[in-house]
């Protein structure tokens, strides 16, 4: 196949998988059950777009269920955010090509919440790095990070290089992280993921988290923010939470015989460092953004409940990012109307940092941004925003008052 007997696209896919696999220590390819592919114009540019179009022209089609990660445009709203027509048109071209390729074009980073959950022990080729960390850690499925081109290659072959988190050995914990404080809400879990990712900063290290006595087990939404932040800050793809995740009934089970690299302790003051930011009390807040990852229906419900009868301050924008499935349910339930009446807005099928964040900042004349997502804070400081991490309630208070308190 590598010589092209099965077509140029198959040859390309096998060659890519062999090259990346060789660099990472794989000696064979193994079957996978599904693909989650990240492809968006912002990072792939003309070269990536033309490559996907070339693959499709060569007859490339996905042979396993393949869904798409967040794209770089909310097609219904992008123009109002200053996204260039050129970007919108190229993103449309990309999605036409992906449709011919045979994807389920959900444009979501939470496929595990709204499309299908991964199954324990199932081998996958997923791209969105937070989704991979969730699939491995929370569900006990088995995937490495398969970035955009690697995910398309896996969709063509139905295979993935067999190394890393496909294998039991690599999934054992290398580090113990003892949490000595209580964690409350997605912002705390996001901060823990950020801190842990920063400490480990290595794809091949696996933390085993030991929660404080009496700590309530995390919700799925809290786990998704934890996984997304750990992946974003530290390239972490696998974790255990003792007594919570399926390969960590005990600390010994999580660690097995792997040599422990370090023992870390997390306190409230450790996490507090993540909540200090480039914003000062009294600063005008231009944007309050719930994003990275996209919100589940449960998270949307909580935002609306905590917002209550209050409205967003003039001069401040409250933005929630969701996928099209969640938007449709919000419409049906009357929640979108409630959000918009309160002065809030949606971005759908994208994530705030994916949709041309520099163009959006210039178009909105916005600089300051508050969010409960450490991942969003991590990414946007490179795009010229002054960002801060805050709890859900503090974010909503800032949206209503217009100021950081």
């Amino acid at each position: 196949m590598v010589n092209g007997e099965a077509g140029a696209a198959m040859a390309w896919a096998i060659q890519q998988q062999m090259a990346a696999g060789q660099a990472l220590g794989a000696t064979r390819l193994r079957p996978i059950r599904s693909v989650h592919a990240g492809a968006e114009i912002g990072t792939m540019g003309d070269a990536g777009l033309e490559h996907v179009e070339w693959l499709v022209e060569q007859g490339a089609r996905s042979c396993v269920p393949t869904s798409t990660a967040a794209c770089s445009v909310d097609f219904a709203r992008a123009a109002g955010y200053g996204v260039s027509l050129r970007q919108i048109e190229r993103e449309q071209r990309l999605h036409r090509a992906l449709a011919r390729f045979g994807v389920i074009d959900v444009s979501t980073c939470i496929n595990y919440q709204t499309l299908t959950p991964p199954r324990f022990g199932e081998h996958l080729a997923w791209g969105d790095t937070g989704a991979v960390a969730f699939a491995n850690g929370v569900a006990g499925a088995r995937s490495n990070y398969e970035g955009g081109p690697a995910a398309l290659a896996a969709a063509i072959t139905g295979l993935a290089p067999d190394y890393g988190y496909h294998q039991a050995e690599a999934r054992l914990a290398s580090d113990v992280v003892e949490v000595s404080c209580r964690l409350e809400g997605t912002a705390d879990w996001s901060a823990l993921g950020a801190w842990m990712g920063t400490q480990l900063a290595d794809y091949w290290r696996v933390p085993a988290i030991v929660l404080n006595d009496g700590q309530a087990a995390p919700s799925v939404d809290e786990l998704k923010h934890f996984a997304a932040a750990a992946a974003s800050f530290g390239s972490i793809a696998m974790f255990h939470i003792v007594g919570v995740t399926p390969e960590a009934a005990t600390l010994d089970a999580a660690c097995g015989h792997r040599r422990r690299q370090a023992h870390h302790t997390v306190t409230r003051s450790t996490l507090g460092g993540l909540f200090s930011h480039s914003l000062a009390v009294g600063d005008k807040i231009d944007l309050v953004v719930f994003s990275a990852p996209q919100l589940s229906l449960g998270e949307v419900q909580m935002v609306l409940a905590r917002l209550g009868e209050r409205s967003v301050a003039p001069g401040t924008r409250l933005i929630l990012t969701v996928n099209a499935q969640v938007e449709a349910e919000m419409r049906r339930l009357g929640w979108l109307e409630r959000l918009e009446q309160a002065g809030g807005g949606l971005l759908t099928g994208t994530c705030f940092y994916v949709m041309a964040p520099r163009d959006v900042r210039r178009h909105l004349g916005a600089t300051t941004l508050l969010t409960p997502s450490a991942k969003l804070v991590n990414i946007l400081s490179g795009a010229g925003y002054r960002t801060g991490l805050a709890t859900l309630d503090a974010c909503l208070d800032a949206a209503v008052s217009g100021y950081f308190a």
């Binding site: 890519q16 090259a19 990346a20 060789q22 660099a23 990472l24 220590g25 990240g38 492809a39 912002g42 990072t43 792939m44 540019g45 003309d46 070269a47 990536g48 490559h51 990660a69 791209g127 969105d128 790095t129 937070g130 490495n144 990070y145 398969e146 970035g147 955009g148 081109p149 690697a150 890393g164 990712g197 900063a201 290595d202 794809y203 091949w204 750990a230 992946a231 974003s232 800050f233 530290g234 390239s235 972490i236 793809a237 940092y353 991590n378 990414i379 400081s381 490179g382």
Partner: protein, 139 residues
């Protein structure tokens, strides 16, 4: 840092791609093309980044480790098309994303060198990397 004790060869690495010679540009930080680069010009734009304002175009980019996110898996090809990509990548520890991005763009990549890459290579050093041999040598 004791330069007199510096080795002339780092070895024991693992990688893929053709050997390449060039001038090193060194960062002691992590890397993600979306988080750290100005997408238009390919220059490091993250405030506080140790290469802020600089470009790795046509240099051998030596860095600590990739951050999360998939951006780099696509971005290296587009940077190469626009003449903004490095000649090759060397890191202390790679992850799949940067390896896949290098494979797509046809750039050599290498990691796992001994002794430690960032202890010895300096920006401006003329070096040769050979991913198949797993070596980095000074010219």
């Amino acid at each position: 840092m004791n330069h007199l004790a510096s080795p002339r060869l780092l070895s024991g690495g693992r990688g893929v791609g053709a050997a390449v010679e060039g001038i090193a540009i060194v960062s002691h930080q992590g890397f993600n093309a979306r988080y750290d680069l100005d997408p238009e010009h390919g220059t490091f734009c993250r405030p506080g980044h140790d290469l802020e304002g600089q470009s790795f175009a046509n240099r051998i980019y030596c860095f600590r480790t990739p951050k999360g996110g998939i951006a780099t898996s696509w971005a290296l090809l587009d940077l190469k098309r626009r003449g903004l990509a490095p000649l090759g990548l060397v890191c202390v520890r790679m992850n799949p994303i940067v390896a896949q991005g290098a494979a797509l763009a046809g750039l050599p990549i290498l990691d796992g060198l001994e002794p430690d890459l960032l202890e010895h290579v300096r920006t401006g050093d003329a070096i040769r990397i050979d991913p198949v041999q797993g070596t980095l040598a000074w010219l």
